[in-house]
């Protein structure tokens, strides 16, 4: 591959590798990276992965779109549903889902409502979010914001829109969050996962071109770095070829 791997392409490949054949999942609101990951998994190792739960099944878009709530982005799809069926999917859960927000904290909680102030007297009011259920009715979810700074990775979010691991195992259990919750976090800089015992976020690997120190500097809480941090396995030739030639034909992930 001639052109260098972009940070978004690296994110897509990390996510795609974790999606399994036969699973049911959906992309969430910020769909660009998740849809590319789902499509890549379907092309490479998960031909029976079903895209569903967001009012359409198995869309075949001609290119990548920032939102799937667009008939052009759906392209041709196998079937359409409505919010009535979404009500049921939200209770039954999916195998995987994706989230990102204004703020993400050390336990994988996500804020989309307000930064500063209070809900009804906010310093900055965010968009809110529609689906608050897939994060815990689904087997797992992934956090994949396309920016990673000390401002959007904070020790504690100002408002928990999407619960991650709350404040750890005890709080999670008390709230009735019985599924895995956020499995890992992938950003343009690195991959973070959660300590099995404390459920606190920690640095797992850094993408090519980044150092652990840089990632820590751009994160508003301690990432628990102890020894050498491995590099995120870069895309293989096959992954990159399929991604660029069959899924992201317009180069959106490199723009």
């Amino acid at each position: 591959m001639s052109a260098a791997v972009s940070p978004l392409e690296q994110m897509v490949v990390v996510l795609a590798r974790d999606l399994a054949d036969g699973e049911l999942g959906a992309a969430g609101a910020a769909a660009l990276v998740p849809m590319a990951a789902i499509a890549l998994a379907r092309e490479l190792h998960a031909p029976n992965l079903t895209i569903g739960g967001e009012m359409f099944f198995n869309p075949l878009p001609g290119r990548l779109y920032p939102s799937m709530l667009d008939d052009r982005a759906l392209g041709r799809c196998e079937a359409a549903e409505t919010f009535i069926e979404l009500f049921g999917h939200s209770h039954h859960g999916l195998d995987f889902f994706f989230h990102s927000g204004l703020q993400h904290d050390a336990y994988g909680n996500i804020n989309l409502h307000h930064v500063g102030g209070t809900l009804h007297a906010p310093k900055m009011r965010g968009p809110g979010a529609a689906n608050l259920s897939y994060c815990h009715t689904s087997t797992r979810f992934y956090i994949c914001p396309t920016v990673h700074t000390a401002r959007n990775f904070v020790e504690k979010v100002d408002f928990i829109t999407i619960p991650g691991h709350l404040s750890g195992p005890e709080a999670k259990c008390e709230a009735g969050l019985i599924n895995e919750g956020p499995r890992f976090v992938v950003t343009p800089r690195a991959v973070m996962d959660f300590d099995k015992t404390t459920l606190r976020m920690r640095l797992k690997s850094v993408h090519a071109g980044n150092t652990a120190e840089e990632v820590q500097r751009h994160t508003g809480f301690d990432l628990g770095i102890t020894g050498d941090v491995p590099q995120t396995p870069p895309p293989t030739d096959e992954e990159l070829t399929v991604l660029r030639e069959r899924i992201d034909k317009t180069g959106t992930l490199r723009a």
Partner: protein
């Protein structure tokens, strides 16, 4: 009793101003307005503009769980008191006037989620006193959501949630086609929550890109998405969803929405002149949908959106 020897069925076709007055009158007794479509697709924007031009104020606005341009415009025009929509965003950027008004305390934006809104509409549509919800946990939204209560499940004994009926006084929908009796056909891939809202509301007013002959409906009844039984008035409005999309007829006008959002951002920064001019030009100025089409660039401009809608 004098028998009517030649009874005629009443057409539901209405003009834009008449439809807006009908809605405005109904909203006087209960200001609960609900909008069909989702984000930048299938939104009844021409009806919204007409309602704003007719002087609506103090509205409580519901929608399918995601909205952007139209709710922001209604707030910019000073017509909204409370927002009951879980996600308010232009997707590629935040809604400027929504943000400003909520941050200034001029508008109350309730913390809600999709299941509360959909469940409330389901309870109303089905005629039951509440809809149970058993998929809300761990979010701070639960501490603030004004529409839900905790209940004990009578079967399992577990604590679950209930939402009471959401019964909009008026719902505006946009579909691609209808006959004169108000039978609607969505030709778009997604139908959002439009069918649920139609059954949940006191009054339903729909805009359509075109009115079709009765036989189009009669020859293919399974394609009707909302039976005319639920529809009180239908208005033929070419480009009635603009600047949102009405697939497969025309795509969303991203450039128009972005230019509007730039004016909203300028207003946030203290310069409201551009936003006021926008409202005068697009909302209060046009006397008809034809005037509006001219104001946004005419048929030639909109033909681009038709071509874009055919790209799949």
């Amino acid at each position: 009793m004098e028998g009517n020897t030649n009874p005629t069925r009443r057409s539901k076709v209405a003009g834009l101003q008449d439809a807006a007055r009908l809605a405005l009158d109904a909203l006087q007794d209960r200001p609960e307005l609900c909008l069909g479509g989702l984000f930048k697709q299938g939104r009844p924007v021409a009806l919204v503009r007409a309602l704003l031009a007719a002087g609506a104020s103090g509205l409580h606005v519901y929608s399918s769980p995601g909205a952007g341009y139209d709710i922001d415009l209604m707030i910019a025009a000073g017509a909204v008191e409370q927002v009951f929509i879980p996600g308010v965003t232009l997707e590629n950027r935040l809604c400027p006037n929504f943000r400003s008004a909520v941050e200034a305390g001029q508008v109350t934006a309730h913390a809600l989620d999709a299941l509360t809104v959909v469940g409330g509409l389901m309870a109303s549509a089905h005629g039951v006193p509440f809809q149970p919800i058993d998929a809300l946990r761990g979010s701070d939204v639960l501490k603030h959501n004004p529409l839900i209560r905790e209940i004990d499940c009578p079967f399992s004994g577990r604590r679950i949630h209930a939402v009471g009926p959401i019964r909009p006084r008026v719902t505006f929908l946009h579909a691609q086609e209808a006959d004169r009796w108000g039978n609607l056909r969505h030709l778009s891939t997604m139908v959002y929550a439009d069918q649920l809202m139609a059954r949940a509301s006191d009054m339903v007013i729909a805009s359509v890109d075109r009115i079709v002959p009765d036989n189009v409906i009669l020859d293919d009844p399974s394609r009707v998405t909302v039976p005319g039984h639920y529809v009180d008035a239908v208005v033929e409005l070419p480009y009635g969803a603009h600047p949102t999309a009405s697939f497969p007829n025309y795509a969303m006008d991203e450039d128009h929405i972005d230019a509007y959002a730039d004016l909203g951002d300028a207003a946030r920064a203290g310069d409201r002149a551009g936003l006021d001019a926008y409202i005068a030009r697009h909302v209060t100025g046009p006397k008809s949908q034809d005037d509006y089409i001219e104001a946004v660039g005419g048929a030639g401009y909109l033909a681009r959106l038709e071509a874009e809608a055919r790209k799949r």
